[in-house]
Assembly symmetry: D2
């Protein structure tokens, strides 16, 4: 059955798979000491316009958040996030597992406002019993957010400014980074690198079989980070598997090319849905569209097409997600159009 | 300077101290195998009307919450609490330190409603992605709450029913348990024991130098609990220190007698404040009173008497706490009255 | 440069890669709910002759050890292992990271003897202060061991018996399981499944790009294991990546066929080395050969061929490892022969 | 029954108890902000001849080791200790509970030799796979050791030198520090402070009801240490309880006076045992004496006097511990003498 349930339905982009095949019999050292991990890092540095960036290749998103956050925080610190943040809700407590509290703040459409952050920090440090609470140690945001929304450059700059005023690193979860950049004219990978202390470029949802590329933007990789990765169970013996894929994704602008394709598909999807009279939960500019379905619409559609249920209301209506990706085709959208 | 800042300003009740002195040179085995720990347990069982209860003596409140919650939860589970709960806010992340998320729910005056709990659990288990979230494994409440308020028996029964319908233990933090029971006519220690799976009887704030008595109400002590206590750094070599104190507190109803005294003092304090025209943040029946002070009132009073600041507003007004305890005297209240 | 440094130098067996390519554009549900993960599980159950086995697909070896051990142990328990065990030495403390001690026991050639285990347990439980120590909760062994050696069936049976007498699960790390089974006539996958409570079938070192298949042999998967996997950062969104690979490896006996090939190559290697007069650190029947090199031999060989250094002695001599794998060819051994 | 089973059989020295009584009704701020915690710190600084030392008062030994070690180590680091060290064996895995491995090294009579340490570190850092292992981050020793033995100044200096050459703090567990210093002429508290980066002065076993005083010797308290203490469940609300006791112990040299008494008692005990023909497991100069008993001796003595069994042999003979303390009297030794 045709599905738009998520953006990890298919394997990898064909060019990625081809490179895996071409390099398959090459004997390469393990754990990331191979030429492809190095090339991937070099190409990412160039794309970020960030000569001093360190690039580390990990396997999945929750794992990446866990390793990065735990490695950057002192034992007594927690990480600030929107209360809708992926680490706050949908990572099975992977951050708390490492001993750190997720300090959840209110948000709007999935976005944490600089003002909210500032007020929290001001109140926290003014509290005479602050030493009895979890000390805020860094800030986590996602781009696009879990609702598909985007920070504009001014908003990101403002968050970055508050973080740095309080001497905390700003960390951006870019599980769908390509889709955000493709949807937003005035934001580039170099902007992200300039404003964040660390972020990751999502591969799993943007053309790879698996893999996320963590970028520490100013030589700020924590000491013995390889050991920390291993300690968290996140070190691939054949790290080339991720290296070759990111090397391919960052060759000839493939990562952004397939991201732009997904956004074109999302725009067509959005138009289709709007023209058919469907309502939207919020206005998402990226590849995830949150649609309000009546009970009748839901029951009819779910027989023919895959989507995921975000919220189910007592009256049977629901907020559901349709996602496009690098793999979505016009033919798939044609099929969907007939069902709507 | 006279202080009402908290209920742990003095040492121990004189009868407690006297027993420590009288037993001081007795040679006793370590780690709780002594006669006083056993007597304390026996007397607490009797007071709880709960023959199958297990009693374990620990040192402090945060420690007790940490050991009990971590020992009762499976690794993948979290603990539900009011978002104002002590473990949610003021224990420096001691629960997350052990790998478990505190699942914070909305409350009213510090109290978690059974309906709120039920709705959360119903929604949680109906969510198709619930396996990607922290599984709720137990419920934490405090009695009195952090705002001095109390669950009545029907409310506690309702919470207990929801917990058991979802096969989760109900845990009650009784750091100020005596003050709650003394303030509420229709609730007894036996009621607490009947409705909760585990709770602790606070000593530190109710007449002891230190010490909390954990009660597992139906033979439900986790296996190898002594080892867990030691592993959490919570096992006293001279556990008699807590045993002797609880033995004294549960002799001749001392624990409730001094608790009733504190509540009498609190009622006089409340009347005094009300008569002098002070406003209250909420209506607390127990030993903690949350008072609204204007900037002028605050500046004047803080020169002469100790209290603690709960919330400071931009205009200089504040919500402050005055607490009575077993140690509060009429003379102290007379002095305060003159200052108000 | 030609290398025998380890058994994860190349990508995947061509049949595995081919299946990844063939299934690449299929839309499949995430997190393991796909047909390939199910088929892999079914084929593994059949190969194990173990109808009630549960199969869970993870990414790497350290991760697998961490998730399985942490999920099986109670908080106060530790895992017993040989002091040369991978979890004892070369996993960067991944087990301790989850709060559990590795209880390291003496071994011979990497093997833990049932008698050693029995004596340890007997002494432990007879110790009057055993409650102040880490409680042993399970036993970890590796097959083949880190030195390439193998337990025979009687030895494995004896270990299994001791474990079960003490009510502890026996866990077998099969990172190189195929190579062990291919080297040992009287041991089958079904024997492993019958004697162990849980084990994993290594993919990363035996023909896959990545992936390990955990087998709980008698319906003993811990509750909410998917949540635990996610919490440890070990859940692939595109879990199909491992599912397709194990489906291929367990089709037409591919896993054992390529394992037997590696052992044939290892035997040729061993013969070659012996005939050239090289000494062995110990007698390994599997794909890892530990060879003693003089300083001169080491300096000459390391210019021409890759191997890994196991121990370096002050006089410059060394114990080094040569490994074959599914990917080793006769041509490579021909080349090596000329260099020896 | 008279007992020499351990050095925590009685309560507190009378002068300590008296000060608790005298200060009992004073209203004091919580968590260590009181005058007695400050005075204790000041007196300890003076006794250590260490103006820049920070003193923090905790409750028990395992707790202290856990808080100090976890706060000093980075997440990926472990702590080196003798394999007989208290943290290696008898703290129920309290260090591993915080995520860190105890890296156990061989010892002699409980003492870790500088040469052993140096060789370990040299080999570790020369290992090409050291990044896959737990990184050594600090060194733990106990003084006196678990066998009652003592490092002399040259040995401690040598350990300190190796630690500092490898940029690691040296931490000394002084659960029985007074008994060590009283037994050794050429070692003072100032020497300990000069050679260690952090250590603790044991109170529980040397005259206090509970309490240990941690000394960071050169302004090297970890940031937000109070928060860490709270997070570990180790912060007393009435921290005065420990403050008053250490203030008393460090007034008029009481701590050393009662320590010297215990050592005098130990010397008499040792002489008595030797004269009666008992053998010793090793030669301990401090308050713990390890005695070899035949089955007959053991069976006869255990009916009349308490001691603790260290090792029980198959033939019924045993190594047992007799301990003296600040509380031991000549009358008690007289009684024992008659039984031997």
């Amino acid at each position: 059955m045709l599905s738009f349930a998520c953006d990890y339905l298919e394997g990898a982009h064909e060019k990625v798979l081809q490179r895996l095949t071409e390099t398959n019999r090459e004997q390469l050292p393990g754990y990331g000491d191979d030429i492809y991990c190095q090339r991937a890092a070099e190409k990412i540095r160039t794309a970020c316009q960030c000569e001093n960036a360190d690039v580390h290749l990990l396997v999945g998103g929750t794992q990446t958040n866990q390793v990065v956050i735990d490695s950057l925080l002192a034992g007594y610190q927690g990480v600030i996030a929107a209360d809708t943040g992926h680490i706050s809700v949908h990572e099975a407590g992977a951050i708390e597992f490492t001993g750190h509290k997720v300090l959840a703040l209110p948000q709007t459409d999935g976005k944490l406002a600089a003002e909210t952050l500032q007020n929290y920090l001001k109140t926290f440090w003014a509290d005479e019993s602050c030493e009895h609470m979890v000390i805020p140690g860094m800030v986590y945001i996602s781009y696009p957010t879990e609702y598909g929304t985007l920070y504009n450059k001014a908003e990101l700059q403002a968050l970055s400014d508050v973080c740095h005023a309080y001497h905390m690193p700003l960390y951006l979860d870019g599980a769908r980074l390509g889709y955000g950049l493709a949807a937003q004219e005035d934001m580039t990978l170099a902007d992200i690198a300039a404003l964040c202390d660390v972020f990751y470029i999502g591969g799993t949802k943007v053309g790879a079989l698996c893999g996320e590329a963590v970028v520490f933007t100013h030589g700020n990789t924590p000491p013995h980070f390889l050991t920390s990765i291993k300690q968290h169970g996140a070190l691939l013996a054949k790290r080339r598997l991720v290296g070759v894929q990111f090397d391919a994704l960052f060759t000839d602008d493939l990562y952004m090319e397939i991201s732009r394709h997904a956004i074109q598909m999302a725009r067509r999807l959005k138009t289709m849905l709007r023209e058919k009279g469907y309502g939207f939960f919020l206005d998402s500019p990226t590849n995830q569209q949150f649609v309000i379905l009546t009970r009748e619409q839901k029951e009819r559609l779910e027989k023919a097409v895959g989507f995921s249920v975000w919220a189910l209301h007592p009256d049977g209506s629901a907020v559901v997600r349709f996602a496009t990706s690098w793999a979505t085709t016009d033919e798939q959208l044609d099929m969907l159009e007939k069902m709507l």
